[in-house]
Amino acid sequence: MTWHLGPYTIDGSLVLYTWIAILLTAGLVSWLARGATAGVPGIGQSLLESVFQFIADLAKVTFDPEKESFLYELLITLFLFLLISNFEGMIPSLHSPTANLNLTAALAIAVFVLIQWYGVRYHGLGYFKHFAKPFLPLLPINLVEELSKPLTLAFRLYGNILVGEIFMGMVARFRLLFYFLGGFVAAFVWWGFTAFVNVVQAFIFMVLTMAYVGKAMAEE
Protein backbone atom coordinates (compact mmCIF):
# COMPACT_ATOMS: atom_id res chain seq x y z
CA MET A 1 0.00 0.00 0.00
CA THR A 2 1.90 2.98 -1.24
CA TRP A 3 0.37 6.17 -2.44
CA HIS A 4 2.19 8.83 -4.41
CA LEU A 5 1.59 12.48 -3.76
CA GLY A 6 3.71 14.45 -6.19
CA PRO A 7 7.32 13.79 -5.28
CA TYR A 8 6.27 12.27 -1.94
CA THR A 9 5.21 8.74 -1.15
CA ILE A 10 2.80 7.76 1.60
CA ASP A 11 3.23 4.34 3.17
CA GLY A 12 -0.31 3.11 3.75
CA SER A 13 0.80 0.23 5.97
CA LEU A 14 2.44 2.68 8.39
CA VAL A 15 -0.81 4.64 8.58
CA LEU A 16 -2.63 1.36 9.22
CA TYR A 17 -0.22 0.24 11.96
CA THR A 18 -0.38 3.72 13.51
CA TRP A 19 -4.14 3.60 13.58
CA ILE A 20 -4.16 0.10 15.02
CA ALA A 21 -1.99 1.41 17.85
CA ILE A 22 -4.21 4.48 18.24
CA LEU A 23 -7.39 2.41 18.40
CA LEU A 24 -5.78 -0.08 20.79
CA THR A 25 -4.64 2.77 23.04
CA ALA A 26 -7.98 4.55 22.97
CA GLY A 27 -9.88 1.29 23.48
CA LEU A 28 -7.63 0.05 26.27
CA VAL A 29 -7.74 3.35 28.16
CA SER A 30 -11.52 3.61 27.76
CA TRP A 31 -11.91 0.01 28.87
CA LEU A 32 -9.67 0.41 31.91
CA ALA A 33 -11.29 3.70 32.88
CA ARG A 34 -14.85 2.42 32.59
CA GLY A 35 -16.87 3.06 35.71
CA ALA A 36 -14.00 4.95 37.29
CA THR A 37 -14.81 5.66 40.89
CA ALA A 38 -13.34 7.82 43.61
CA GLY A 39 -14.00 4.95 46.00
CA VAL A 40 -12.17 1.64 45.88
CA PRO A 41 -10.84 1.31 42.31
CA GLY A 42 -11.01 -1.92 40.31
CA ILE A 43 -7.94 -3.61 38.86
CA GLY A 44 -8.17 -1.77 35.54
CA GLN A 45 -8.62 1.60 37.16
CA SER A 46 -5.76 0.92 39.58
CA LEU A 47 -3.49 0.00 36.68
CA LEU A 48 -4.32 3.19 34.80
CA GLU A 49 -4.11 5.29 37.95
CA SER A 50 -0.67 3.93 38.74
CA VAL A 51 0.51 5.13 35.30
CA PHE A 52 -1.05 8.54 35.96
CA GLN A 53 0.47 8.70 39.43
CA PHE A 54 3.88 7.56 38.22
CA ILE A 55 4.03 10.25 35.54
CA ALA A 56 2.61 12.88 37.91
CA ASP A 57 5.31 12.06 40.47
CA LEU A 58 7.98 12.45 37.81
CA ALA A 59 6.43 15.68 36.51
CA LYS A 60 6.22 17.26 39.97
CA VAL A 61 9.97 17.84 39.87
CA THR A 62 9.57 20.40 37.07
CA PHE A 63 5.93 21.47 36.91
CA ASP A 64 2.57 21.12 38.62
CA PRO A 65 0.55 18.45 36.76
CA GLU A 66 -2.69 19.95 38.09
CA LYS A 67 -1.99 23.35 36.55
CA GLU A 68 -0.30 22.08 33.37
CA SER A 69 -2.89 19.39 32.72
CA PHE A 70 -2.41 19.74 28.94
CA LEU A 71 1.26 18.83 29.13
CA TYR A 72 0.63 16.20 31.80
CA GLU A 73 -2.03 14.40 29.78
CA LEU A 74 0.04 14.77 26.62
CA LEU A 75 2.90 12.94 28.36
CA ILE A 76 0.54 10.17 29.48
CA THR A 77 -0.80 9.88 25.94
CA LEU A 78 2.73 9.75 24.54
CA PHE A 79 3.80 7.06 26.99
CA LEU A 80 0.73 4.85 26.50
CA PHE A 81 0.71 5.26 22.71
CA LEU A 82 4.43 4.54 22.39
CA LEU A 83 4.16 1.56 24.73
CA ILE A 84 1.39 0.00 22.69
CA SER A 85 3.05 0.95 19.40
CA ASN A 86 6.29 -0.70 20.53
CA PHE A 87 4.50 -3.88 21.54
CA GLU A 88 2.46 -3.93 18.34
CA GLY A 89 5.52 -5.31 16.58
CA MET A 90 5.46 -8.35 18.85
CA ILE A 91 2.04 -9.35 17.54
CA PRO A 92 2.58 -11.73 14.63
CA SER A 93 2.01 -10.21 11.18
CA LEU A 94 1.88 -6.68 12.62
CA HIS A 95 4.68 -4.13 12.81
CA SER A 96 5.49 -1.36 15.24
CA PRO A 97 4.72 2.05 13.72
CA THR A 98 7.59 3.27 15.93
CA ALA A 99 9.97 1.12 13.87
CA ASN A 100 9.42 3.67 11.13
CA LEU A 101 11.27 6.97 11.22
CA ASN A 102 8.26 8.79 9.80
CA LEU A 103 6.28 8.37 13.00
CA THR A 104 9.12 8.95 15.44
CA ALA A 105 10.28 12.02 13.49
CA ALA A 106 6.75 13.42 13.43
CA LEU A 107 6.53 13.01 17.20
CA ALA A 108 10.02 14.42 17.74
CA ILE A 109 9.24 17.49 15.64
CA ALA A 110 6.04 17.97 17.62
CA VAL A 111 8.06 17.72 20.85
CA PHE A 112 10.51 20.29 19.46
CA VAL A 113 7.65 22.70 18.77
CA LEU A 114 6.26 21.97 22.24
CA ILE A 115 9.59 22.86 23.89
CA GLN A 116 9.76 26.23 22.10
CA TRP A 117 6.06 26.89 22.79
CA TYR A 118 6.43 26.33 26.52
CA GLY A 119 9.64 28.38 26.58
CA VAL A 120 7.85 31.33 25.01
CA ARG A 121 4.77 30.85 27.20
CA TYR A 122 6.84 31.03 30.36
CA HIS A 123 9.40 33.64 29.37
CA GLY A 124 7.92 35.55 26.43
CA LEU A 125 9.85 35.99 23.19
CA GLY A 126 12.92 36.77 25.29
CA TYR A 127 13.15 33.01 25.73
CA PHE A 128 15.06 32.74 22.45
CA LYS A 129 17.79 34.94 23.87
CA HIS A 130 19.05 32.00 25.90
CA PHE A 131 20.51 30.52 22.72
CA ALA A 132 23.08 33.34 22.81
CA LYS A 133 24.07 32.63 26.38
CA PRO A 134 26.45 32.70 28.14
CA PHE A 135 27.86 34.69 25.18
CA LEU A 136 27.03 35.20 21.52
CA PRO A 137 29.72 33.03 19.90
CA LEU A 138 28.11 29.98 21.48
CA LEU A 139 24.95 30.55 19.41
CA PRO A 140 25.73 27.89 16.76
CA ILE A 141 26.63 25.33 19.40
CA ASN A 142 23.45 26.05 21.32
CA LEU A 143 21.40 25.76 18.16
CA VAL A 144 22.99 22.43 17.29
CA GLU A 145 22.29 21.25 20.82
CA GLU A 146 18.68 22.30 20.53
CA LEU A 147 18.26 20.62 17.15
CA SER A 148 19.90 17.46 18.41
CA LYS A 149 17.04 16.99 20.84
CA PRO A 150 14.36 16.00 18.28
CA LEU A 151 16.96 14.25 16.19
CA THR A 152 18.08 11.95 18.98
CA LEU A 153 14.52 11.46 20.18
CA ALA A 154 13.44 10.29 16.72
CA PHE A 155 16.42 8.06 16.00
CA ARG A 156 16.71 6.51 19.45
CA LEU A 157 13.15 5.27 19.44
CA TYR A 158 13.18 4.29 15.79
CA GLY A 159 16.49 2.43 16.06
CA ASN A 160 15.70 0.51 19.20
CA ILE A 161 12.32 -0.69 18.05
CA LEU A 162 13.51 -1.48 14.53
CA VAL A 163 16.37 -3.62 15.88
CA GLY A 164 13.95 -5.51 18.09
CA GLU A 165 11.71 -6.18 15.13
CA ILE A 166 14.52 -7.21 12.81
CA PHE A 167 15.96 -9.57 15.37
CA MET A 168 12.59 -11.12 16.12
CA GLY A 169 12.14 -11.57 12.39
CA MET A 170 15.49 -13.28 12.20
CA VAL A 171 14.61 -15.58 15.09
CA ALA A 172 11.49 -16.53 13.19
CA ARG A 173 13.27 -17.00 9.86
CA PHE A 174 16.51 -18.76 10.77
CA ARG A 175 15.01 -21.43 12.93
CA LEU A 176 17.76 -23.97 12.40
CA LEU A 177 20.46 -21.46 13.35
CA PHE A 178 18.58 -20.51 16.49
CA TYR A 179 18.05 -24.15 17.31
CA PHE A 180 21.81 -24.48 17.62
CA LEU A 181 22.11 -21.16 19.45
CA GLY A 182 19.79 -22.26 22.24
CA GLY A 183 16.50 -22.79 20.54
CA PHE A 184 13.43 -21.87 22.48
CA VAL A 185 15.39 -20.52 25.42
CA ALA A 186 17.39 -18.07 23.27
CA ALA A 187 14.27 -16.94 21.45
CA PHE A 188 12.48 -16.50 24.71
CA VAL A 189 15.33 -14.49 26.21
CA TRP A 190 15.38 -12.24 23.16
CA TRP A 191 11.62 -11.87 23.35
CA GLY A 192 11.87 -10.77 26.98
CA PHE A 193 14.68 -8.38 26.19
CA THR A 194 12.66 -6.84 23.38
CA ALA A 195 9.68 -6.41 25.69
CA PHE A 196 11.97 -4.71 28.18
CA VAL A 197 13.35 -2.38 25.52
CA ASN A 198 9.81 -1.57 24.37
CA VAL A 199 8.87 -0.36 27.84
CA VAL A 200 12.13 1.47 28.42
CA GLN A 201 12.06 3.29 25.08
CA ALA A 202 8.48 4.47 25.56
CA PHE A 203 9.48 5.66 29.01
CA ILE A 204 12.64 7.40 27.80
CA PHE A 205 10.82 9.27 25.04
CA MET A 206 8.20 10.47 27.52
CA VAL A 207 10.71 11.40 30.25
CA LEU A 208 13.01 13.26 27.86
CA THR A 209 10.05 15.22 26.52
CA MET A 210 9.18 16.09 30.10
CA ALA A 211 12.76 17.08 30.89
CA TYR A 212 13.19 19.21 27.75
CA VAL A 213 9.91 21.05 28.30
CA GLY A 214 10.65 21.41 32.00
CA LYS A 215 14.04 22.90 31.20
CA ALA A 216 12.44 25.37 28.78
CA MET A 217 9.98 26.36 31.53
CA ALA A 218 12.76 26.94 34.03
CA GLU A 219 15.23 28.57 31.59
CA GLU A 220 16.72 31.88 32.72
Binding site: Y8, L74, I76, A106, L162
Partner: protein
Protein backbone atom coordinates in the same frame (compact mmCIF):
# COMPACT_ATOMS: atom_id res chain seq x y z
CA UNK B 1 12.20 2.70 5.63
CA UNK B 2 14.52 5.55 6.51
CA UNK B 3 13.12 7.82 3.80
CA UNK B 4 11.13 10.73 5.24
CA UNK B 5 8.09 12.08 3.51
CA UNK B 6 6.45 15.26 4.74
CA UNK B 7 2.84 14.28 3.96
CA UNK B 8 3.45 11.03 5.81
CA UNK B 9 4.81 12.93 8.83
CA UNK B 10 1.77 15.16 8.76
CA UNK B 11 -0.60 12.20 8.66
CA UNK B 12 1.20 10.51 11.55
CA UNK B 13 1.23 13.69 13.61
CA UNK B 14 -2.44 14.41 13.00
CA UNK B 15 -3.32 10.80 13.85
CA UNK B 16 -1.52 10.95 17.18
CA UNK B 17 -3.00 14.37 17.94
CA UNK B 18 -6.44 12.90 17.27
CA UNK B 19 -5.68 10.17 19.79
CA UNK B 20 -4.59 12.82 22.27
CA UNK B 21 -7.73 14.85 21.64
CA UNK B 22 -9.91 11.80 22.17
CA UNK B 23 -8.13 10.73 25.35
CA UNK B 24 -8.11 14.24 26.79
CA UNK B 25 -11.77 14.81 25.98
CA UNK B 26 -13.26 11.39 26.69
CA UNK B 27 -11.07 8.77 28.34
CA UNK B 28 -8.89 10.70 30.80
CA UNK B 29 -11.42 12.95 32.58
CA UNK B 30 -13.14 10.14 34.56
CA UNK B 31 -9.78 8.84 35.81
CA UNK B 32 -8.43 12.30 36.60
CA UNK B 33 -11.68 13.20 38.32
CA UNK B 34 -11.73 9.96 40.32
CA UNK B 35 -8.16 10.52 41.48
CA UNK B 36 -8.83 14.15 42.39
CA UNK B 37 -12.07 13.24 44.19
CA UNK B 38 -10.34 10.50 46.14
CA UNK B 39 -7.55 12.88 47.09
CA UNK B 40 -10.12 15.43 48.16
CA UNK B 41 -12.01 12.85 50.17
CA UNK B 42 -8.89 11.61 51.93
CA UNK B 43 -7.93 15.19 52.72
CA UNK B 44 -11.38 15.99 54.09
CA UNK B 45 -11.40 12.71 56.06
CA UNK B 46 -8.05 13.60 57.58
CA UNK B 47 -9.28 17.09 58.39
CA UNK B 48 -12.42 15.67 59.98
CA UNK B 49 -10.36 13.24 62.02
CA UNK B 50 -8.10 16.09 63.12
CA UNK B 51 -11.10 18.19 64.11
CA UNK B 52 -12.59 15.25 66.03
CA UNK B 53 -9.30 14.69 67.79
CA UNK B 54 -9.12 18.35 68.82
CA UNK B 55 -12.74 18.21 69.98
CA UNK B 56 -12.03 15.10 72.07
CA UNK B 57 -8.97 16.75 73.56
CA UNK B 58 -10.95 19.84 74.48
CA UNK B 59 -13.63 17.62 75.99
CA UNK B 60 -11.02 15.71 77.96
CA UNK B 61 -9.52 18.95 79.26
CA UNK B 62 -12.97 20.20 80.24
CA UNK B 63 -13.74 16.94 82.04
CA UNK B 64 -10.42 17.02 83.85
CA UNK B 65 -11.10 20.59 84.98
CA UNK B 66 -14.56 19.50 86.10
CA UNK B 67 -13.12 16.59 88.08
CA UNK B 68 -10.55 18.90 89.64
CA UNK B 69 -13.18 21.44 90.67
CA UNK B 70 -15.45 18.73 92.04
CA UNK B 71 -12.58 17.31 94.05
CA UNK B 72 -11.74 20.79 95.34
CA UNK B 73 -15.33 21.35 96.33
CA UNK B 74 -15.45 17.97 98.06
CA UNK B 75 -12.26 18.86 99.94
CA UNK B 76 -13.82 22.16 100.97
CA UNK B 77 -17.00 20.46 102.16
CA UNK B 78 -14.99 17.92 104.09
CA UNK B 79 -12.83 20.61 105.67
CA UNK B 80 -15.88 22.63 106.64
CA UNK B 81 -17.56 19.57 108.13
CA UNK B 82 -14.44 18.79 110.14
CA UNK B 83 -14.21 22.37 111.38
CA UNK B 84 -17.93 22.37 112.24
CA UNK B 85 -17.55 19.15 114.20
CA UNK B 86 -14.56 20.52 116.08
CA UNK B 87 -16.43 23.76 116.83
CA UNK B 88 -19.41 21.80 118.05
CA UNK B 89 -17.24 19.58 120.22
CA UNK B 90 -15.56 22.64 121.67
CA UNK B 91 -18.95 24.29 122.29
CA UNK B 92 -20.26 21.16 124.00
CA UNK B 93 -17.17 21.00 126.17
CA UNK B 94 -17.42 24.65 127.08
CA UNK B 95 -21.13 24.24 127.85
CA UNK B 96 -20.37 21.26 130.04
CA UNK B 97 -17.67 23.18 131.89
CA UNK B 98 -19.99 26.14 132.35
CA UNK B 99 -22.74 23.80 133.57
CA UNK B 100 -20.45 22.07 136.03
CA UNK B 101 -19.29 25.45 137.39
CA UNK B 102 -22.87 26.58 137.72
CA UNK B 103 -23.82 23.37 139.55
CA UNK B 104 -20.83 23.79 141.80
CA UNK B 105 -21.74 27.38 142.57
CA UNK B 106 -25.36 26.41 143.26
CA UNK B 107 -24.21 23.63 145.52
CA UNK B 108 -22.01 26.07 147.41
CA UNK B 109 -24.90 28.51 147.78
CA UNK B 110 -27.15 25.68 148.96
CA UNK B 111 -24.54 24.50 151.45
CA UNK B 112 -24.14 28.01 152.76
CA UNK B 113 -27.90 28.46 153.04
CA UNK B 114 -28.32 25.17 154.86
CA UNK B 115 -25.52 26.06 157.23
CA UNK B 116 -27.21 29.39 157.87
CA UNK B 117 -30.43 27.54 158.49
CA UNK B 118 -28.74 25.09 160.82
CA UNK B 119 -26.95 27.87 162.59
CA UNK B 120 -30.06 29.98 163.04
CA UNK B 121 -32.02 26.98 164.35
CA UNK B 122 -29.06 26.21 166.61
CA UNK B 123 -29.12 29.77 167.79
CA UNK B 124 -32.86 29.51 168.51
CA UNK B 125 -32.34 26.29 170.39
CA UNK B 126 -29.52 27.81 172.37
CA UNK B 127 -31.79 30.72 173.21
CA UNK B 128 -34.55 28.28 174.23
CA UNK B 129 -32.17 26.22 176.32
CA UNK B 130 -30.53 29.27 177.88
CA UNK B 131 -33.96 30.74 178.61
CA UNK B 132 -35.22 27.58 180.18
CA UNK B 133 -32.02 27.40 182.21
CA UNK B 134 -32.30 31.08 183.19
CA UNK B 135 -36.01 30.65 183.97
CA UNK B 136 -35.20 27.84 186.25
CA UNK B 137 -32.58 29.97 187.95
CA UNK B 138 -34.43 33.32 188.07
CA UNK B 139 -38.05 32.14 188.21
CA UNK B 140 -39.12 34.38 190.87
CA UNK B 141 -37.30 37.64 190.07
CA UNK B 142 -37.65 38.44 186.45
CA UNK B 143 -40.67 38.67 184.18
CA UNK B 144 -40.17 36.51 181.23
CA UNK B 145 -40.64 39.28 178.58
CA UNK B 146 -37.72 41.41 179.63
CA UNK B 147 -35.55 38.43 180.27
CA UNK B 148 -36.07 37.13 176.82
CA UNK B 149 -34.88 40.43 175.30
CA UNK B 150 -31.81 40.37 177.45
CA UNK B 151 -30.91 36.86 176.45
CA UNK B 152 -31.54 37.61 172.80
CA UNK B 153 -29.07 40.48 172.89
CA UNK B 154 -26.60 38.25 174.57
CA UNK B 155 -27.00 35.55 172.06
CA UNK B 156 -26.66 38.05 169.15
CA UNK B 157 -23.27 38.87 170.41
CA UNK B 158 -22.15 35.28 170.37
CA UNK B 159 -19.65 34.91 167.48
CA UNK B 160 -20.25 31.99 165.28
CA UNK B 161 -17.10 30.65 163.68
CA UNK B 162 -17.48 30.48 159.94
Amino acid sequence: MISLSWPQLLIELISVLLLFAFLRAKAFPPIVKAMRDRQERIRSDLETAEARRKEAEAMKAALEAEVRSVRERADQVLARAKKDAEDQARAILEEAQRESKRILAEAEVEIRRQREEVLSSLRAQIVEISLSVAEKILRERLDSQADRRLVDEFVERIEVPQ
